[in-house]
Structures are given as structure tokens and as C-alpha cells.
């Protein structure tokens, strides 16, 4: 991965770079009178360097989408408590006023949502929706904005862009709508792009097109990309660094190759073993994870995954061990939140994990 010629003078992507986004100890609590608070996100920290792609992986309800909304400052003000710190190029976003956030959103950070039909305004032509961003953030005349919008649509692979600009969202297919949304997100060359399940609602052949597009963008413009998904296949192809989330906390962090070859958290291992793979021999039985994402305990009482975990022992509970389970460094560039991780024999070369066995 290298940054090409772009307006952003991104130095060759190294890992010691100044990160674009730094999230520290982010927590989101939903409060409601007469009910216990819901901790949707509970002390999440990660950072993204220019040109880097990180993945937030987890099942429904693990807090990955709330994390992204909190970063963008899109959560409602009422009944929501956001704490911790989110820094975009050093600028603090948590607690920033609406005006500042408004200036940043669309210009320096942008987001692509899961469902393109409900995130586009159905009563406004695509062209107006794309030029709106340009007029707001880049001092352009309407004429220039239209030209620029056509160029953007062309760049994301929409044929005949000038005609498309006059059309309404329902006249575009799912893949086209997602492309239009990506074009809007890219219109001001943001430093940070958050993609929240950008391909979940699409077919596999269209998904392949969109992923290819995102991959090119990161390489060409050095944009930092946060990819939120539940699909481990998408992560394997796109992300440099992966954070696995469960019940609002990050439970494992590793580089892509490391994570898939040697998952340490039993949850990560379980996820990998429970997906049928196209390139594995047929008839190999799947090993599901017991129970469902509802069967959790509070992190204060111990490991939230313990009720579903096969290697759970008594000291996974706080009252037995006397302390909560912490996220601790686990080898080079790895972090792990588990007391009884999956162990691998110390044979480094070419070892493959049971979950990734072919």
C-alpha cells in the first residue's frame, strides 16, 4: 500500500505516522428514566493512520455502529452520554459544538451508510444531493459544482454521469446508489472515511465492485478508512488492522494476517470456525458458538463472552478472580482481553489455525 500523487501530502505510509483519528476510551451510555443505563460502547480505543484501513468487526448489537456515530458526532443529544476522547488530526470532537462538527463533517470526515436508499433523500435528484456538499464546503459556483459532481460520479464508476445527476434515488439500482453515496462522501477528499456495512445490502458481484472501489481510493488518496462489518471475508480482503468487538468492548486487536492465522480470543476463533468457506472441503461440519449475542453478562461481573465460551473457567468471573478482565498487550502489535486464550504450539513457520484449516 502506498499513497499515490494526491493533494494531501501523505508521506509513505508507515506505522509511526501521526494518526488521522485517535479514539481513546470512548464510551456511550443510553440513559432512560426508570431504567438501567445501557452501555452500548464501553471504553473503546483505536487509531487510524493515513492510508490505513482498520476493521471493526462484530455481530449485531456489539456497538460497532454506535462507535462510528459517536465519532461523527451524529448521536442524538438527549438521553445519550458520550465520554472519552475522539481526536481528528489532534482536534477534540467529543463536546465540540454543533457548528464545528458541521464544518468537519463532509469536509474532513465522511461516512458511507449501510442502506443507500434510506440515507439518500428520495424526493431530491442525485445531482442536487451531491452538489449540496460541494457548495457547502468548497467555494464553488453552481456551474462548477455540477461539473465536479459529474466528475465524481464518473470516478466511482457510474456510466453517463450527466444524465444520472438528474435522476432520483429510486431510479438507480442498489449498487449505483451506494456508488453515489461514496461519491458524496469523497467530494471534499476527506482525511477520514467511515464505511458502516457498505456492502451488506448488496449482492456479491456488486459487493466485489464496491470493495475494489474502496481499495483504490485508499491507495490513491491516502484516506484513512474505518470499515465496519460483520463479514470476516470482507475484512480479510481489505483491512490492515482488525479490532474485534463484543458487547461494547474491543476484545481482540491484531494485524489481519495474524488475526486470521492465529485468533487468540475464543470468540474470534469461534466466528472463524462457524462460517462455511467456499474453499474448504464440503461436508466438514461447522462448529457454531453456543447461545446467542443476548447471553452476555455485564463486563463488571467478568468476561461478557464467558456464558458462551468453551474455554471459560471460574476465574473469568470477577467475583472469583477479584478483578475485571482487561485488554492487555499480547505479543507484537496485538492486544487481547481474555484469561484463557487459544494457545498455539510455538511452531512459527506456516502454522495455520484450526479455524482457518483448509
Amino acid at each position: 500500500m502506498s499513497s499515490g500523487s494526491s493533494s494531501i501530502s501523505a508521506p509513505p505510509v508507515g506505522l509511526g505516522n501521526q494518526p488521522v483519528l485517535e479514539v481513546t476510551d470512548l464510551a456511550v451510555r443510553f440513559t432512560r428514566r426508570g431504567e438501567a443505563d445501557t452501555r452500548a460502547v464501553d471504553g473503546v480505543s483505536f487509531s487510524v493512520a493515513p492510508g490505513e484501513t482498520i476493521g471493526l468487526v462484530g455481530e449485531s448489537g456489539c456497538g460497532k455502529s454506535v462507535t462510528s456515530l459517536a465519532v461523527m458526532g451524529l448521536l442524538p443529544k438527549r438521553n445519550v452520554q458520550v465520554s472519552g476522547s475522539v481526536r481528528l488530526d489532534g482536534q477534540e470532537l467529543v463536546g465540540a459544538d454543533a457548528e464545528t462538527l458541521r464544518g468537519l463533517r463532509g469536509a474532513d470526515m465522511a461516512m458511507v451508510f449501510q442502506d443507500p436508499l434510506s440515507s439518500l433523500n428520495p424526493t431530491v435528484p442525485i445531482g442536487t444531493q451531491v452538489t449540496e456538499v460541494l457548495l457547502e464546503h468548497r467555494d464553488m459556483t453552481r456551474k462548477e459544482a455540477v461539473d465536479e459532481a459529474a466528475r465524481l460520479l464518473d470516478r466511482v464508476g457510474i456510466p453517463d454521469p450527466l444524465r444520472r445527476l438528474k435522476e432520483y434515488p429510486h431510479q438507480l439500482s442498489g449498487g449505483m446508489r451506494q456508488r453515489a453515496l461514496i461519491a458524496m462522501a469523497l467530494s471534499c477528499s476527506p482525511r477520514l472515511l467511515i464505511a458502516d456495512e457498505p456492502t451488506t445490502a448488496l449482492d456479491v458481484t456488486i459487493q466485489a465492485q464496491i470493495l475494489e472501489l474502496l481499495r483504490e481510493l485508499v491507495v490513491d488518496s491516502g484516506t484513512a478508512l474505518v470499515m465496519i462489518t460483520h463479514d470476516l471475508g470482507v475484512v480479510a480482503g481489505l483491512c490492515d488492522r482488525v479490532h474485534v468487538m463484543y458487547a461494547g468492548k474491543i476484545i481482540e486487536t491484531a494485524d489481519r494476517h495474524e488475526l486470521f492465522a492465529r485468533p487468540r480470543q475464543p470468540y474470534t476463533g469461534g466466528l472463524l470456525a462457524s462460517v462455511p468457506r467456499l474453499d474448504s472441503p464440503r461436508g466438514a461440519p461447522l462448529t457454531p458458538i453456543r447461545g446467542s449475542a443476548r447471553d452476555t453478562i455485564a463486563w463488571a461481573d467478568g468476561c461478557a463472552f464467558a456464558p458462551r465460551c468453551d474455554s471459560a473457567q471460574d476465574d473469568c468471573l470477577t467475583e472469583v478472580a477479584g478483578s475485571t478482565v482487561e485488554l492487555v498487550p499480547d505479543g507484537p502489535r496485538r492486544e487481547l482481553r481474555c484469561r484463557h486464550p487459544i494457545e498455539y504450539p510455538p511452531a512459527p513457520a506456516g502454522a495455520t489455525a484450526p479455524g482457518a484449516a483448509r
Binding site: G61, Q171, G175, V204, Q209, H230, L232, R277, L278
Partner: protein, 384 residues
């Protein structure tokens, strides 16, 4: 039917034989007079047969007609033409009481368990309804006993009986849906996207349950899904659909070993594999553009507008037939042999787009309405 189907039984008549099945939906216009201005050819001439005790997997993108095909087999939508022979009886010609009786032997598992279970019925009532409707297991005691065995079969506790669908998780709801569909001990189970609304860790539980039930009850499955890995995992024979017709049919292992049709190749190469080593090295065939509208399908081979192997001759104007290329391997492509042997090379998607010009644009091209109904509505349910 029992689990001990003899080999001779299997060799003979397949349990289900579909021939030339067509489902066309009219597109109506006009305020006072309903004029039919065209047809959406959701299913356009499909032949398939399923042997007893086996699983047939049907894959394709949204809008290709796979769900409509499943529904037409059960007569949940009326077929326009063709025959559906189930165990020697033509289902497409049945009506009234005989059709209702026949439904006892063919059941369906739906995609969205929350949408297909009545929120006001508790589990006991949900499971006893089919039994009462068909007058089985006379008496309340018999029904109660039967329901308990059903819950046991799908791995739900007896305490579930008094609870309502919203009290369960997605995986458990799908178990209720499966229990309901096997309540009448059917021969054929049509599962329409049985796991696509479920979380990854729960999918495997339901897939394993379906396999276990098939072994125990000798069920025959038609599994409709867009997830190729899941279909490959549970199917014996796989059929690939594109715009209302089958483009390829083969035993699961052969199909994944060596896909013959260009569409199958592209589809397979588009599925991401959860392994960065494989991801880094595998060949990807990107397709240009989107699925054309089934209301206005392309002439000739329906895939020619997106096909990287399209040739100047035949592809544009001659409809390929489903032919047997090797034993049990059916493919509908004029150039299947040449593509298999590597004589023909694929073009880049940009090249295909350039040649086809406006054809590769979205489905909205042309005078045809492009609403969700016309394009097909069986998109996978999104998760958050």
C-alpha cells in the same frame, strides 16, 4: 416417507420434477382500464428435479427469480406455464381440497422469522395450528405430546411453549419456524434464505440443525440462498439462476471445483474468503454493471451484457439451451467448452462496459419502470 428410502426408490422417480416452469407478472397501467403493458419474467422456463433425501441448492443474486421459483413450486404464486410434478402428482393442476391436502407434504421455511410468525400467537398455538388444520393427532393430549417432541427436535426448551415470538432471539425464532414446518412430517422442505437474517455465530447452529433433521427425518430440501458458501455446505446439487432461468446445474463439489458458466465463475470469484492469504492471491473476475431488468431482459444469452467472455457471434442473438456438458453437469453457454479449456480469454470489465455502451447502465435504462417490485424484492435483510 421414512428415512429408509431404498436405493431403488431413489433411482426411480425423483420426488419433485419441475418442467418448463414460468411465472410472469403483468405490469399494469391506466386509471380506468387496466392495460397490461408488459410482463416481468420472474421465472422463465426452469427445469429441475430433486431426488428423495437430497438437497438442491438454488443460488443467484436478488431479483433473479429464485424465491419466486420456490413459491411457485408450493403454489404460493400461480405459475403461468409449466408443470410441477410432486411424487407423481401435478401440483400445478390441483385446486381446492386436494391442493390443501398436498401442502401437508410440502412445507416452507421463510427468511425472516419475525415477519412470518404471528406476533400474537404463543409458541404452543403456532405449533398446534398446522396439526389442527390437518386434523392430525386427534385430541389435545396427542397434540401436546407431538409439540413436545417437535421442540425437542429443534432444541428449544419446553418453557418456550407459553412465550411469544418477540421474546426469542433470531436463531431461536428460526428454530420455531423450522419446528412449524416439520410439524406435519412433510417430504419436501423449501427453505428460502433460512439463515441470511441471522448473525454469523448463530447461522452455523441453524445450518447444523437443518442437516441433522434431514438425516433423522429423511427430508428432501430445496434451499434458496444468495450465500454461496452456505449453499455449497449443505447442498448435493446446486443450480445457479440468472434473470429467471438456470444457467448452470451441477453436483456441489464439481460446481465449486470447476464452474463452467461465465456467470458462475464471476459469482464464485466475488465471494470473499475469510483468510487474508487466499484473499491476496485469488483471481477476481469483476462484472461490469448491474443485473438488467427482468421486465426487459437482453436478447440472446441473458448474461451477454455483462459477460467477460462474450463473443461477436451467437451470444447476442441466440438463446443458449441448458445442455449436458459432462455427466450430471448442465450449462447454458455457447462457448462453455472453449472457456473451460482456456481457448477464450476474459476481457476486463471496463472493456465489456465500453463495448456494451448504455446496456451496462443500471436497470433503469429504457422505458421500463424500475421500482422494487419489478426488480425483485428478495434482498437480504440488512443487519445493524
Amino acid at each position: 416417507m421414512t428415512a429408509t428410502a431404498t436405493p431403488a426408490d431413489q433411482r426411480g422417480e425423483p420426488l419433485l420434477r419441475v418442467q418448463g416452469l414460468k411465472v410472469h407478472f403483468p405490469i399494469k397501467r391506466g386509471i380506468f382500464v387496466d392495460r397490461t403493458v408488459g410482463h416481468v419474467r420472474a421465472v422463465d422456463g426452469v427445469d429441475l428435479s430433486i431426488d428423495r433425501g437430497t438437497t438442491y441448492g438454488l443460488v443467484g443474486e436478488s431479483g433473479c427469480g429464485k424465491s419466486t421459483l420456490g413459491r411457485a413450486i408450493l403454489r404460493l404464486v400461480e405459475p403461468t406455464a409449466g408443470s410441477v410434478v410432486f411424487d407423481g402428482t401435478d401440483v400445478a393442476a390441483l385446486r381446492g381440497e386436494p391442493l390443501r391436502k398436498m401442502r401437508r407434504r410440502m412445507q416452507m421455511v421463510f427468511q425472516d422469522p419475525l415477519g412470518s410468525l404471528d406476533p400474537r400467537q404463543n409458541v404452543e398455538s403456532l405449533l398446534s395450528e398446522p396439526l389442527r388444520a390437518h386434523g392430525l393427532d386427534g385430541g389435545n393430549a396427542g397434540i401436546a405430546a407431538h409439540i413436545r417432541t417437535l421442540l425437542d427436535a429443534v432444541g428449544l426448551p419446553v418453557a418456550a411453549l407459553r412465550r411469544y415470538p418477540h421474546e426469542f432471539s433470531g436463531g431461536q425464532r428460526q428454530r420455531i419456524g423450522i419446528a412449524r414446518s416439520i410439524a406435519l412430517e412433510p417430504d419436501l422442505l423449501i427453505a428460502d434464505e433460512p439463515v441470511s437474517a441471522l448473525d454469523v455465530s448463530v447461522q452455523a447452529q441453524v445450518v447444523n440443525l437443518l442437516e441433522e433433521l434431514q438425516e433423522r427425518l429423511g427430508l428432501t430440501y430445496l434451499v434458496i440462498a444468495h450465500d454461496l458458501a452456505v449453499v455449497r455446505h449443505i447442498s448435493d446439487v446446486v443450480g445457479v439462476m440468472y434473470l429467471g432461468s438456470l444457467v448452470e446445474q451441477a453436483p456441489a463439489d464439481d460446481l465449486y471445483e470447476e464452474p463452467l458458466h461465465p456467470y458462475t465463475r464471476a459469482l464464485m470469484s466475488a465471494v470473499p474468503v475469510p483468510d487474508p492469504v487466499v484473499e491476496g492471491s485469488r483471481e477476481r473476475i469483476l462484472l461490469a454493471g448491474d443485473l438488467p431488468s427482468p421486465a426487459n431482459p437482453p436478447n440472446g444469452c441473458r448474461f451477454h451484457t455483462r459477460c467477460p467472455w462474450r463473443q461477436e457471434t451467437r451470444c447476442d442473438d441466440e438463446v443458449p439451451v441448458l445442455r449436458e456438458l459432462a455427466p450430471a453437469r448442465f450449462v447454458s453457454c455457447h462457448w462453455a467448452e472453449e472457456i473451460r479449456d482456456g481457448v477464450l480469454r476474459p476481457k476486463a470489465p471496463e472493456e465489456v462496459a465500453a463495448i456494451q455502451g448504455v446496456h451496462v447502465a443500471a436497470t433503469g435504462v429504457g422505458p421500463v419502470e424500475t421500482d422494487a417490485l419489478v426488480q425483485g424484492i428478495d434482498q437480504p435483510i440488512e443487519r445493524t
